[in-house]
């Protein structure tokens, strides 16, 4: 079975996986990083979004071996110690989460958007979130949070 090595949230992590092991399973089962969630098995819901080399990726659709050598950031790696990342803070401030299950994927996806567009319009946010499902919030406050978070990030994470 192949061994993979990647930087996860700033630390080098290795593990022996099957060829078919998904990145999300490597993160959750091998590394215990259960903040990344699995909400579907057809790459639709986006609860599993993490960053691979700075871009948002659905970790349920990536093999662990594809991330060999990559720099991976999960929701656990976003905050700076006790200080929430500006996007996390914006979600809290604007009540952009309820049950919290889609939240890690939403936040990671939103950070990627903000890195590309420092001041997204409501329309741009709604279009960007095409790959993230939420059943609780009706997206209303998520959209507000993403806009506020992007502005707070000031064009960079």
């Amino acid at each position: 079975m192949p061994t993979v090595t990647m930087t996860v949230n700033g630390m080098e992590r290795s593990g022996t996986v099957e060829g078919r092991t998904l990145l999300v399973d490597f993160l959750r089962e091998h590394l215990g990083l259960t903040g990344t969630h699995v909400g579907c098995d057809t790459s639709q819901c986006g609860a599993c979004v993490v960053h691979v080399n700075g871009s948002s990726v659905k970790s349920c659709t990536s093999l662990a071996v594809q991330a060999d050598g990559a720099d991976v950031t999960t929701i656990e790696g976003l905050a700076n110690g006790a200080d929430l990342h500006p996007m996390q803070e914006a979600f809290r401030e604007h009540h952009g989460l309820q049950c919290g299950f889609c939240t890690p994927g939403m936040v990671m996806s939103a950070v990627d958007l903000a890195n590309r567009n420092a001041d997204p319009s409501e329309h741009e946010v709604r279009e960007w979130l095409e790959g993230n499902l939420c059943r609780c919030t009706g997206y209303h406050n998520i959209v507000k949070a993403v806009q506020a978070g992007a502005r707070a990030m000031g064009g960079g994470s």
């Binding site: 098995d41 639709q44 609860a47 049950c99 919290g100 299950f101 939420c134 059943r135 009706g138």
Partner: protein, 785 residues
Amino acid sequence: MSGNGTGIGASVKRKEDARFLTGRGRYTDDINLPGQLYGYILRSGMAHAKIGAVHTDAARAAPGVHAVFTGKDMEGVGGIPTGWLIHSKDGSPMVEPGHPALAIDKVRYVGDCVAIVVAETAEQARSAANLIDVEREELQAVASIEAAEADGAPLVFDEAPGNVCYDWEVGDRAATDAAFDAADHVVSIDVVNNRLIPNAIEPRAAIANYDPATGDYTLYTTSQNPHLVRLLLGAFVLGLPEHKLRIVAPDVGGGFGSKIPHYAEEAILTWTAGQLGRPVKWTCERLDAFKSDTHGRDHISTAKLALDADGHFLGLHVTTKANLGAYLSTFATCVPTYLYGILFAGPYTTPAVYCEVKSFFTNTVPVDALRGAGRPEATYLLERLVDKAAVELGMDRVEIRRKNFIREFPYQTPVALQYDHGDYDATLDLALKAADWAGFEGRRAEAAARGKRRGIGISTFIEACGIAPSAVVGSLGARAGLYESGSVRVHPTGSVSVFTGTHSHGQGHETTFAQIVSDMLGVDFDAVDVVHGDSAKIPFGMGTYGSRSLAVGGTAIYLAVEKVIEKGKKIAAHLLEASAEDIEFENGSFTVAGTDRSKTLGEVALTAYVPHNYPEGLEPGLEETAFYDPLNFTFPAGTHIAEVEVDPETGEVELVAVTGADDVGRIINPMIVDGQLHGGLAHGIGQALLEECVYQDDGQLETGSYMNYTMPRAADLPSFNINHNTTLCTHNPLGAKGVGEVGSIGVPPAVINAVIDALRPLGVNDMSMPATSQRVWQAIQRANG
């Protein structure tokens, strides 16, 4: 109530968010127990079949497999029970067939549980399940109400002739018939309430453990009501005493009703853990969730409204057929009856109402509560019919509603409920203003100039929430009480733990309940924590559904706090050498009335736990529990207005604006309340425009994944215009009514009424949910002839 920065009425940021935002939530699938094995549930791929031998030898021999169990192995275990006994018109009890956790002899829907494979890894369990050979004889399936009631239809259960579970009624039929005899106008309508799949984003999961040393079972499960699961699983299925069965519902990723029922998988897992003496974990894959989470709605109805010449409603007659699916889920039977038929007065003074409901077994996933549960179905029918009446009588859609509003309270409806209070004009006026109803024709004309058909639709509605008075529901067939519990433990140095029988799976109870307690006790918000979801920690409670948590659970907490204060007064009186009757409690201090002599709550609490100088005969400690059984349902009400633009070339409906004016009773945290409204609106809009569960005639689920079941996405929805007019519930001390289901109850008819309003100039006078572009385009083509 001080109304300070974190008190009642403040938009306090949520306590829950710190863990959810940093990946430190603890959902069931995040939990792993030492020595845990993995279970995979083999499900039926046929909707209706006799099953013979189930050959499991190859699976048992597969790598990593510890055990395979089938229905025959579990044959001595009790079936999955249902929680509400409905009686038919003739007084006979409903047909209540057994529901074995693992199918025996017959499978009745695609997704029915056939076997469990337990292995070292989830992959091994799933792979081995493919090696199970089930001898099957496929039977013709009945996958819809129409198929179930057809002459000579195959029977889902031999004991249910015609596939009928019950034929129920509510209201006075003779009085209603008389109203129609006296009517100047009769308006009728046929509607289908489309079947929905709940789709909480967290799939169901469970881990069961058995400790042979103590005989204790523990089940971690994705539930909205852990004690209800314990009661059903322990007392009815496995025969385990409550003190040996602990149910933990940790962080739960949304429920919407689909995590109320006690599911077969919970029984299978717990029983299997007992057989093996090791923890067994199961996580539902989304594709299996589509065919095993209970579905919602699925009604076919015809109704008629009798009116006088002035447009006053005289009588309403509703005939509904409801699909219950293949087995009776926990609340399945009450959803199309006591959560449906009793809503048909709506906010109107209709003096005679009659509703009859015939419910059918079909070879489909069991149907149970889904956000609103019965009340969206009733509201949709009524508000579509009222709109149609306005059109047929040539009346204004707003005025016909206003003409029939209830204005005197309490109001006894002809269908059992007594509304305590409300102000329907106020929410109507507020919504009309917020939506700029008066300016709509200008917007219609502007859209027309762009080639678009613009329409506006309205819904004025009431709901019955805060379920429910135990004696009332007991007399109607409920097999459980629907009170709620709350415990308040003031610790020796003055911080507080609150224990509630409700369960939070997105609603923010940890914040809202802490606001109530910190406000009442005058302690810091951060000094109050709320504990829920673990039957080993909390008092017996009934959980969260039916918008009941604040009105029922919050009241229990309120009453427990009052008991704490009363006891604290006795302790303070002793310390202050005064009479307890002379002690006043405010802002965290017990004060002798008219003096500046006082003791803080912290001083009183410390005295309660270190009772060296203490009132004679008073128990030490400062912890109180209250059980609250509500006196009545609560009646949130409001007006929802939707505005749409239809592209007549493509049939595409754009939802341009959604305005709500709601009366949800006392608002503890406006931020959380608005969030609940947003979510409910999205769910209701999903039903109106996007979502539809489709079965093929052979019982195969056509919409079995996110690829072909259309969930609302961010770009499908506008931002919502939310407004409040609050009247207080008169029969609970908080004045709370409930908010969790409002959006999904009120908005679907507003959306469809708007679509019809847009298309009426094209000759389209009816529209079914969901109003997809295909359906709208076809309607336009048909109207064009």
